[in-house]
Each structure stands twice: as structure tokens, then as C-alpha cells.
């Protein structure tokens, strides 16, 4: 071989050939370098990715823990249903993609083949529901209502149904013991979303794709303890999901059980009475609007006064929690959440807020005492109170002469509170205070826990609102542009209000403070906040954080974690004043605004206390409030657009107490009929196998109570009784009295 080419070729070609050679070898060198980088330097990283690539998980869901009432009666548990599922992995391996098998299966189940096939297709952007949203490696449930006969047909001829299983599976159920519903308190479950999986990835309780997650109520608050831990089997799979080997598996751990302080019987009574009261209110004629009351929503809270534990919590309108079981249909979901629905998912006991009306006077009284006005002093209860051209009338224009604060609470005299609030407003410097105003009335509201959540163990509690100077400033800043644009000095009512607000909406005006003192205007409270306040008055001044969860019991029953009542603070009220208030609230029931509904009540044996309230809402009918307490319980009831507190709720609240204490209509007490004469102490008994013993509830506690109330002298009594009590149906206040101040507050009101 000649080393020196005898080509006689010009150097140009030779040089270029060398250039090509160098170029070619450097290209291959680049490949080698890149190969080294990927395989040697980053190799470990890619090995990890590769192992994640070909491993898929199959999940055995954990059985969710039960939610029990205080005696162990299940409010939410699981039932075994025969679930027929299809394995996509097996179906796709079949020649026709499983079409024949699914068609045959549809025949057995009595479904249409298209329906079955739609259920097993995977969801993507282009596929409309029904479709499978979960992992394609997970068996896809086709029905959870298979009959034993259908299941047998499938299992006995399993060779005819490759990829189809019929297994008993635990499905969430809300058994509604004693016809109680408890829907909003229990909440509901729905499948976990991608976002949540991402978010919880690195926490101590990551979600699995198959998980159901508590969306609301106790199911959400206690989701972590109820959920348990799903079992996972990891398979090696190829790119089409065909299993090529089994890797490892972990067994499922069932979730813990939650014992609550709810008593399902009392819950039933509360729900029944709320519903009945609302229906009754709709039969009542409202003079102001010239129609019957709408009574469109309402709530009841029954709370242990000395611990803050919730015994019953009802919200209306309501719904059947079992609509969520096995996946809610689009139609049902629309009915629950759509614009035309009455939003039954809202728990109005913690998410409904309204002006408190006269139930607020407990705060005004405390504020007045704090400001230096003796509780037993004498204050003029005139028929009206005038400020400049504005006249603030007393309810029904009554005149009681000079009375104590206690008596003012009893008869719900507005003018006493107008007078005190106005005096303090002036002392603080009027609309343009110099220095720091004392604002006793607003400070007290904050000290009573208004304007912030109570911390109840339910999600999405609303805070209510204290319309103090800071709020007014912030609110004015947010809205002044709109007000100043639409406001007209000589325009319509709304335009005039806007004009006024544009000018001085940021200032605490005299009328604002006067209205505020009796719970009208921009103040908003929730029923649960009222329960905490009146519970504190009942127990001597301690405000508790309301709780529903009482204990978490592990599935084997061996470990019990009790949820202790939590104190949130003290009422800013001295014991002497508290005693005075206590007496006054007793007087409300015996000779005050609620007396006409509590005639014949065994007050000597079971002393009841209470305060009525009737809050105005611009453009709507009045909100009724009835805040009551006995030695052990606080019962708060509110119904929107239903008239006065006593008129709309008096009978219902009385019936709830009757059920608790076993009081008959004639005032006699039947201890055997009493549902809960004392708050439930201790926890339900846990058997050695971890199950929890529960008494059976027979019949309908609400109907039993109703029957026992036959002889009640006040039942169905809509006539105006003698004395100081107002008429139940004509409870609207004189609209002239607070001219120009309701519009702002009510336009935003939600309750």
C-alpha cells in the first residue's frame, strides 16, 4: 500500500479531505461525549426516571372511618355493596378491546352497552361524562348496585367475563338514624383532583389517585383521620400498561372512627322543628310586604353551654347526603349548587350571617355597664328618640318610663339603648372624634367574639362583621367611586343614600351608632356566634370554641384520642352584671317578649332564659332570632324572612327543650321521655373487636315530642297575648325610624 498518494492532485482537495476527516471524527467525538454525559454523569437520575416509568400502582382503598353520634349511633358509615368493575388492562388486551365482554356484561346487568362502555372510557379534554377519571390501572366500577344474582352470574362464568370482577366493596353511606339528616354537618366526599394530589405530594398524608376526599363538613375537617391509608400494589408494566411483573404490596389500613357530640335524636327534633317552624311562618301574613312570610332559610344550633359541644346543628333548606354516594350526577349537582337552587349545601348555622336584631342587646348592655352606666340604673324607655329631624321609634311605640337595663332587655326597649349609644357617640366626639374614641359599644362586640370565626371544627365558617370605624373607612374606600357616581341629592331613595354615603360614608354617624346599639344596620352575626355568646352568659362568662368532634377512636378500638373542649375567652362582664342579665333573660321567657310562647313551661324546675330578635333586611322581610339557654344547653334559632323571633321560632325552641328534658305540653316532666336531660358524658363503649356499641333508635323522636306537646296551652296560638309581648306577625319595625341606613347594610346581606 502506498503511503504517499500518487494522485498528482492539487493540495486544495487534499486539504479539504483532511478537513472532512477531522469534521467527521469530531462529530463522532461529540456523540461520545454526550453519551458519557447521559450515561455516566446523569445516569443515576435517568435510572430513577426509568424505574418510575414502568411501575404502576394498583390501590386497594382503605375503608373510611365512621362518624358516630354521642351515643355511638352511626351518622356516616360504610355499607357493603356488590361492585362490578372492569379492568382496562385486561380489556385492552382482548382482540376487540373488550367490546364483546362489555356488551355481554351490559346484558347481565340490564344496562345498555353504550352506557357500560362510556363508563370505562378514560376522561380527557374531548370526552364528556360519563367517563373514568381515575387511574387506568385501577379497576373501573361499572355499578355498585349489582344484585347477588348478577354477581354470581359474573363470578361463576368468569371465563366468559375476562377482566370483569364482582366483589363486595365498602361504599360510604349516610344512614340517617331516627330520620335525622345532619347533611351539612357531615359534609360529603368526592374524588381527589390532580391539583390536590400535587399539593399533598410531599406532606405526611399524600393522596392516591383513587382517594375520595372530604369536601365539606366533618368529612373534610376530619378527613385525615377518617381516610386511613390505602393499600398499594406496585406492578411493573410496559408502555401499554400490560403487567410484566409484580413488585411489592402494602396492605390497606382502615380509617379511624370519629365520635361526635351530636345526638341524632336531638338532631332529628331540631331539623323537624326548624322545618315545621318555617312551614308555619309561610302561613303567616306579613303586613309590611303584603304577602306571606317567605321563610326561605334557617338554622338551629343546640350546644352544651358548659363545654361548647354541639348537640344538634340544623340548616334549612337541606338535602339528602346520600346523593353523593357512588358519584353525584350532573343533574343532582346542578340542583344543589346551581343559580336556581336554594343552596342547600350551605350550613347556615356557620355560614349564614344576618343582623342580630335585639339579640345584640346583650352586648350593648355589657358595653353600657363598661362605659359606666349602672346595670340597675334608671333609663328612659320613651316611645321614640329624636336626633335632629330623624325620629327613632321604640318597637310598636311603647313607653315604659324609666327602667333598668335588665328590664330594658326583658321588654326589648330600643330607646334605652338609643339613648345610651347616642350619649357615648357624642362623648367620643361625634362624627369627627378628636383623639382616640372609646367606642365602648364596638369594643364590646369584638370582645364577645363577633367579626371573627368561632373556630368550630367545620370548614368555611364565616366571620360576620362589626361595623366599627375601621370597617366603615375600608368599606367607604372600596365603594365611594360607585356611590359618588350614582348618588343624587334629590334622586330616589337609593340614590339619596348613595349621595349621603359618598359624602360621609367613612364616618361613624349618629344614626349609625344608634341603629347599631340594637343590632340593626351593618352588623352581621352567625348562629354559632350567638350560641357561643349566650352559652357564655349561661355558664358564667366563659366562651368556648364550639366542637362537634368528641373523640377519634382507632379502627381496632385500642387508642382513643379525646378532643377536649377549648376555652376561647371570658365575656367582658362582671359576675354581678351577668347575674342581672341572667334574671332579665329569664324574665323574657316568663313576662317578656317570649313569654307568650312559653306559657305553662315548668320554669321552677327547668329555668329557661332567652332573648328575641327581629332584624331588618333592606328589600326583604325581617330575620327572626331566638337565642335561649337552660342550665346545660344553649339553643339558637334563626329564620330568614319569617317575622319576629318569638313568633317564628318560639314554639320550635320550646319543643326542642321539651324533647331534651321530657317536658309534656301541660308542663309535667316525664324523665323516661327525656332525650338528654343532662349532656352526654363519656364516650360510647368500644367492644374488643374495635366495633362500637350503639343503641337502636326506634320510631321518630320528633313525632314523639310532638305528640307529647298536645296539651301545650300556647301551641298554635297566634293571637296577641296580653301584656308587653308583641304580636308575632306584625313584628316589623317602623321603617321611618332608621331612614337611610339600612340600604347599605342589606344589599350585601347574605342571610
Amino acid at each position: 500500500m502506498t503511503n504517499i498518494p500518487e494522485t498528482g492532485r492539487t493540495p486544495r482537495v487534499q486539504i479539504r479531505l483532511v478537513v472532512i476527516q477531522i469534521l467527521v471524527l469530531s462529530l463522532l467525538g461529540t456523540l461520545g461525549g454526550r453519551l458519557w454525559y447521559l450515561q455516566i454523569r446523569e445516569g443515576a437520575e435517568y435510572q430513577k426516571e426509568a424505574s418510575g416509568n414502568h411501575v404502576q400502582q394498583v390501590v386497594q382503598p382503605a375503608v373510611r372511618g365512621d362518624i358516630l353520634d354521642a351515643r355511638g349511633v352511626p351518622l356516616a358509615d360504610n355499607e357493603t355493596r356488590l361492585v362490578v368493575s372492569a379492568s382496562r388492562t385486561d380489556l385492552t388486551r382482548q382482540k376487540d378491546g373488550g367490546k364483546a365482554v362489555l356488551t355481554k356484561l351490559a346484558g347481565v346487568l340490564g344496562m345498555s352497552p353504550t352506557e357500560v362502555m362510556q363508563k370505562v372510557r378514560l376522561c380527557d379534554a374531548k370526552t364528556s361524562r360519563p367517563c373514568w377519571n381515575g387511574s387506568p390501572y385501577q379497576p373501573i366500577p361499572i355499578t355498585d348496585e349489582a344484585t347477588p344474582k348478577q354477581a354470581l352470574q359474573i363470578r361463576e362464568r368468569s371465563e366468559d367475563f375476562p377482566g370483569i370482577t364482582a366483589e363486595p366493596e365498602a361504599v360510604r353511606r349516610y344512614p340517617s338514624p331516627g330520620k335525622s339528616n345532619t347533611a351539612q354537618v357531615l359534609g360529603y366526599l368526592s374524588p381527589v383532583t390532580d391539583e390536590e394530589i400535587q399539593k399533598a405530594k410531599d406532606t405526611d398524608s399524600p393522596y392516591l389517585r383513587s382517594d375520595m376526599v372530604g369536601r365539606s363538613g366533618l368529612e373534610r375537617t376530619y378527613d385525615k383521620v377518617l381516610r386511613g391509608k390505602a393499600g398499594v400494589t406496585r406492578y411493573e408494566v410496559d408502555n401499554l400498561g400490560r403487567v410484566i411483573g409484580k413488585a411489592e404490596s402494602e396492605a390497606a389500613e382502615p380509617g379511624a372512627n370519629l365520635v361526635t357530640s351530636i345526638d341524632s335524636r336531638v338532631q332529628r327534633v331540631a331539623e323537624y322543628e326548624l322545618d315545621k317552624a318555617m312551614k308555619a311562618a309561610r302561613q303567616q301574613y306579613d303586613k309590611i310586604t303584603g304577602t306571606n312570610y317567605k321563610a326561605d332559610s334557617g338554622a338551629v344550633v343546640v350546644m352544651e353551654a358548659k363545654t361548647g359541644r354541639i348537640v344538634a346543628m340544623a340548616s334549612a333548606p337541606t338535602y339528602d347526603p346520600n346523593v353523593w354516594v357512588g358519584g353525584i350526577s350532573a343533574k343532582d349537582y346542578q340542583a344543589l349548587t346551581g343559580k336556581d337552587s336554594d343552596y342547600p349545601l350551605l350550613n347556615r348555622a356557620i355560614q349564614g350571617q344576618a343582623a342580630p336584631g335585639s339579640t345584640f342587646k346583650v352586648i350593648s348592655t355589657a358595653a353600657a355597664v363598661e362605659a359606666g352606666y349602672p346595670f340597675d340604673g334608671r333609663y328612659p324607655c320613651t316611645s321614640s328618640y329624636s336626633v335632629g329631624s330623624q325620629v327613632f321609634k321604640n318597637f310598636e311605640g311603647e313607653n315604659f318610663g324609666p327602667i333598668s337595663l335588665g328590664r330594658a332587655l326583658e321588654v326589648s326597649c330600643d330607646t334605652v339603648f338609643y339613648y345610651l349609644a347616642d350619649k357615648e357617640w357624642k362623648k367620643d366626639g361625634g362624627s369627627n372624634p378628636k383623639g382616640r374614641p372609646k367606642d365602648y359599644f364596638y369594643k364590646a362586640a369584638h370582645q364577645f367574639g363577633l367579626g371573627k370565626g368561632t373556630g368550630v371544627d367545620l370548614p368555611n365558617e364565616v366571620t360576620g362583621r362589626v361595623p366599627d370605624r375601621r370597617w366603615k373607612q375600608a368599606y367607604w374606600e372600596a365603594n365611594k367611586d360607585a356611590w359618588c357616581r350614582t348618588g343624587k341629592k334629590d334622586g330616589s331613595y337609593v340614590e339619596k343614600i348613595a349621595y349621603e354615603n359618598c359624602l360621609e360614608g367613612n364616618k361613624m354617624r349618629e344614626g349609625d351608632s344608634i341603629n347599631y346599639s340594637i343590632g340593626q344596620g351593618d352588623t352581621l352575626v352567625t348562629p354559632i356566634q350567638e350560641a357561643v355568646i349566650y352559652g357564655a352568659v349561661a355558664n358564667g362568662g366563659t366562651m368556648y370554641q364550639p366542637t362537634i368532634g368528641k373523640a377519634v377512636i382507632s379502627p381496632d378500638g385500642k387508642t382513643v384520642r379525646e378532643i377536649k373542649p377549648k376555652k376561647r375567652g371570658k365575656l367582658p362582664v362582671s359576675q354581678a352584671t351577668l347575674k342581672g342579665m341572667d334574671d332579665a333573660f329569664a324574665g323574657v321567657m316568663t313576662r317578656g317578649t317570649a313569654a307568650w310562647k312559653f306559657g305553662g313551661w315548668p320554669q321552677d324546675k327547668i329555668p329557661l332564659h332567652g332573648k328575641t330578635g327581629t332584624a331588618e333586611v333592606y328589600g326583604k322581610q325581617t330575620t327572626s332570632w331566638l337565642a335561649t339557654y337552660s342550665e346545660d344547653y344553649t339553643v339558637i334559632m334563626t329564620i330568614a324572612q319569617a317575622g319576629t323571633g318569638s313568633g317564628a321560632s318560639g314554639e320550635a325552641v320550646r319543643n326542642i327543650y321539651s324533647a331534651l328534658y321530657g317536658v309534656r305540653g301541660d308542663g309535667s316532666i316525664d324523665d323516661r321521655k327525656a332525650l338528654l336531660p343532662e349532656p352526654q358524658k363519656g364516650l360510647p363503649k368500644v367492644r374488643t373487636d374495635g366495633t362500637i356499641a350503639a343503641p337502636k333508635i326506634t320510631g321518630d323522636p320528633a313525632k314523639d315530642t310532638e305528640t307529647a306537646q298536645k296539651d301545650n296551652p300556647t301551641n298554635g296560638d297566634d293571637q296577641l297575648p296580653a301584656g308587653t309581648t308583641p304580636s308575632p306577625t306584625t313584628g316589623n319595625r317602623d321603617t321611618r325610624r332608621r331612614r337611610g341606613h339600612r340600604a347599605r347594610g342589606s344589599r350585601r346581606r347574605s342571610a
Binding site: T7, T10, V13, L17, V24, T30, I40, G43, Y46, E49
Partner: protein
């Protein structure tokens, strides 16, 4: 300058037994470039193992026979080697006279692809299916273009008329190349077009054509790319698809998926790989087109840096020897043909391996010798035959 054919050297010598003749000092076998032959054979056999590993589980492709692709690959290799022997036997110079016919035939074949007789596979209409066999005429076009351009460019230089091809000749040769490129663009087979451009550049460089042509061609290519990009001739998804090699997120379900899975497969191989038939990416069929365009990922995953590096080394050895042949050829025709083959193999290897490593965009070009595919196998072995022919016939024109 004996003027005799190298085949005839022994003809005039004393008669010897057949086998001794085969290994005689001046025999054809002695003068063959054995490193190239060995490298090509090793690559093809390695390829058959990789193709087998990639396809033995792909029941939807191999019609239930795990050896389907292995056997066909070996059969292609056999045919390829036969074609090589035929090429050496004929000699590249003899083929020089047949170039117009070969060129015409391959262009005609490529045109047939555009008619309803052509088949569309993976979005590209570049297949010709005849009686169960599928052909990719683009592979044969590459050889035709090399031979055709070499014939034109070398004609007057080898005749001693000129030291370099003149502008007119260069222009003619470019026109000759333009026809098949237009056909490829219509298919559209972008990968083959790029390979053609690389071949043309290699051919022009080796022919000694004026620098102006070389740089002019490069500039035209750059301007063309910029124009396509700026004038929005391509849709955004097409550009994304092209750019997905650098950022797989641009086309995560399409090409981005391929590059991602390919990179995972290769990266997870490490130094020595998972062992033949033990790669989880390969067994799990996560890399699409793994027996053809992405065959290198099998080597990367199952044989690791050692095995994949061996492939690159063998390609390097082959190309290095081919460059030697180009340099040593005594006539420009041989030099141009060898350089064209070098440019072809080099570009196609770099592009194919580069795309699996994520440094080149994804185009459908096979890895010479290794990828499964008859047309490619035949073409590269014919090219080997041409190289051998250039080598063994060298002294003749010296």
C-alpha cells in the same frame, strides 16, 4: 499506468489453486479494506441483536414470531453483502457508465412513491410497497446522487482537461441533485433532504469546486431556514416538533415523548447497561420506532456506555478508513464518491444517534447498518462495495 484492469493482473500470471489465488499478495482479497468490512459486518450483526431485543415482545408488529425481525434483518444483511460483492465485482468505474441509467431508475422509483402506489408510514409518503416488500427509494437516491454528481464533476478533471471542475459543471451537477431533492421535499422526507444536502456539501468539497459554491450553498441553506422560520411557512407545532429535541415539553405527546423516553432509556444504561434483553424501557416498549430510527437506545440501555460507545467507535473506524480511501484515490471520481459516502454516513450517524441523545432534532433517518430496514441496509452495503472498489482499483490509474 499499466492501463490494465486490476482484475486481470492475475489473469496473466501463472495459474494457482483457487484458494491460494484468493490470498495471494496481489489478490483482490488482500487488497480489500478489511477494517471497513469488519466494522460494517460487526455493526450489522450488533444491529441484528438490538433489533431482536427491541422487537421480540412487540407482538403487534412481529406477527407472533419473536424472530421475525431478526431473521429479516439477517436476510437483509445477506442481500446487502451480496450487493456489495456485486458492486466490487462490477467495479465503480464500470458503474460510472451506468450512472445515467441508475440515476434515471432511482428518480423514477422515487416518483412512483408520489403516485397512489406509494405508502404513507408515520406521516411520510416515502415508501413503496411491492408484493409484501417495502422499499424506500430515498436510500437509492443517495447513491445515485453521489455517483451522478461525481461523474459530472470528475469528468473533465480526470480527463486532465482542468485542475478543478468549472462553474458550469458545478451548476449542472447541482441541477442533477436538485431533482431528487424536490421529490423528497414533496414526500415530505425532511431527514433524507438533510442527508442529501450533507452529501452535496461533501461532494462539492471533495471535487475541489470553488469555495464560492461551497459557501454559497451553505448561505443558501441558512437563508432558507431563516425564511421558513420568519415567514411562518411552517405552523408553530411543526417548529415546536422540530425544536422538541432540546425541550421535550414543546411537544410532549409527539416527538417530545420519543426524545424523552429515548433519553431515559439511554441514560438509565449507565456504564455497562442492563444487559441484553433486560432493559425495562426496551422490554416495556416505551420508546417508539425502537427497531428502526431509535435502535441506538437499545444499545444505550442494554449494553450501556461500553456497547453504545462500541457502535460509535465502529462507525468512527469505518469513516476514518473511508476518508483514507478518498484521500488515496488516484482519480477524482473515486475521491468524490468516497467523500460523498463519508458525508452520507457521517451525517446520518450523527443525526440518528444525536436525536436519541437529544442534541439533534428528530427526523426519520436510520442508523447505517444497525437500524432495521432493507432499503437502508442494501444502500449502505452497496456504498461499502463502492468504497472497496475504489480501494482495489486505485493502482490502476496511479
Amino acid at each position: 499506468m499499466t492501463g490494465t484492469n486490476s482484475f486481470s493482473v492475475s489473469r496473466y500470471g501463472p495459474e494457482r489453486p483457487g484458494w491460494t489465488r484468493l490470498f495471494a499478495r496481489d489478490s483482490l482479497t488482500r487488497r480489500l479494506d478489511w477494517p471497513i468490512l469488519l466494522a460494517a459486518t460487526a455493526l450489522s450483526l450488533l444491529g441484528s441483536l438490538l433489533v431482536y431485543s427491541a422487537t421480540r415482545n412487540r407482538t403487534e408488529l412481529n406477527q407472533g414470531d419473536p424472530y421475525f425481525f431478526l431473521l429479516r434483518h439477517l436476510m437483509n444483511l445477506g442481500i446487502g453483502i451480496a450487493l456489495m460483492i456485486a458492486t466490487v465485482w462490477l467495479g465503480h468505474r464500470a458503474l460510472r457508465n451506468a450512472v445515467p441509467v441508475l440515476y434515471g431508475l432511482s428518480v423514477l422509483l422515487a416518483l412512483v412513491v408520489l403516485t397512489p402506489l406509494g405508502a404513507t408510514i408515520n406521516g411520510q409518503r416515502n415508501w413503496l410497497v411491492i408484493g409484501g416488500f417495502s422499499l424506500q427509494p430515498a436510500e437509492f437516491l443517495k447513491i445515485s446522487i453521489i455517483l451522478g454528481m461525481a461523474m459530472l464533476l470528475a469528468a473533465r478533471v480526470d480527463a486532465g482537461d482542468k485542475p478543478f471542475p468549472d462553474h458550469r459543471t458545478v451548476f449542472q451537477s447541482l441541477c442533477l441533485a436538485a431533482v431528487p431533492i424536490m421529490i423528497l421535499l414533496l414526500m415530505p422526507d425532511l431527514g433524507s433532504v438533510l442527508a442529501m444536502v450533507a452529501i452535496i456539501l461533501g461532494v462539492l468539497l471533495a471535487s475541489g469546486s470553488s469555495n464560492r459554491w461551497v459557501f454559497g450553498l451553505l448561505a443558501a441553506g441558512v437563508i432558507g431556514c431563516v425564511a421558513i422560520w420568519q415567514l411562518h411557512i411552517l405552523d408553530e407545532y411543526q417548529i415546536n416538533r422540530f425544536a422538541a429535541f432540546a425541550n421535550p415539553d414543546l411537544d410532549p405527546s409527539g416527538v417530545g415523548y420519543n426524545t424523552n423516553q429515548a433519553r431515559i432509556a439511554i441514560g438509565s444504561g449507565g456504564l455497562t447497561g442492563a444487559g441484553l434483553f433486560h432493559g425495562s424501557q426496551t422490554t416495556g416498549q416505551f420508546v417508539p420506532e425502537q427497531q428502526t430510527d431509535f435502535v441506538f437506545t437499545v444499545a444505550g440501555e442494554e449494553l450501556g456506555f461500553v456497547g453504545a460507545g462500541l457502535i460509535i467507535f465502529l462507525l468512527g473506524l469505518l469513516l476514518w478508513r473511508a476518508c483514507r480511501i478518498a484521500r488515496d484515490s488516484t482519480e477524482l471520481y473515486g475521491t468524490i464518491v468516497a467523500a460523498g459516502i463519508v458525508a452520507w454516513f457521517a451525517f446520518q450517524s450523527f443525526e440518528n444517534i444525536g436525536m436519541t441523545l437529544g442534541i439533534m432534532p428528530v427526523t426519520g433517518l436510520p442508523l447505517p447498518f444497525v437500524s432495521y430496514g432493507g432499503s437502508s441496509m442494501f444502500a449502505v452495503w452497496v456504498a461499502i462495495g463502492l468504497l472497496q472498489s475504489i480501494k482495489v482499483q486505485r493502482p490502476m490509474s496511479a
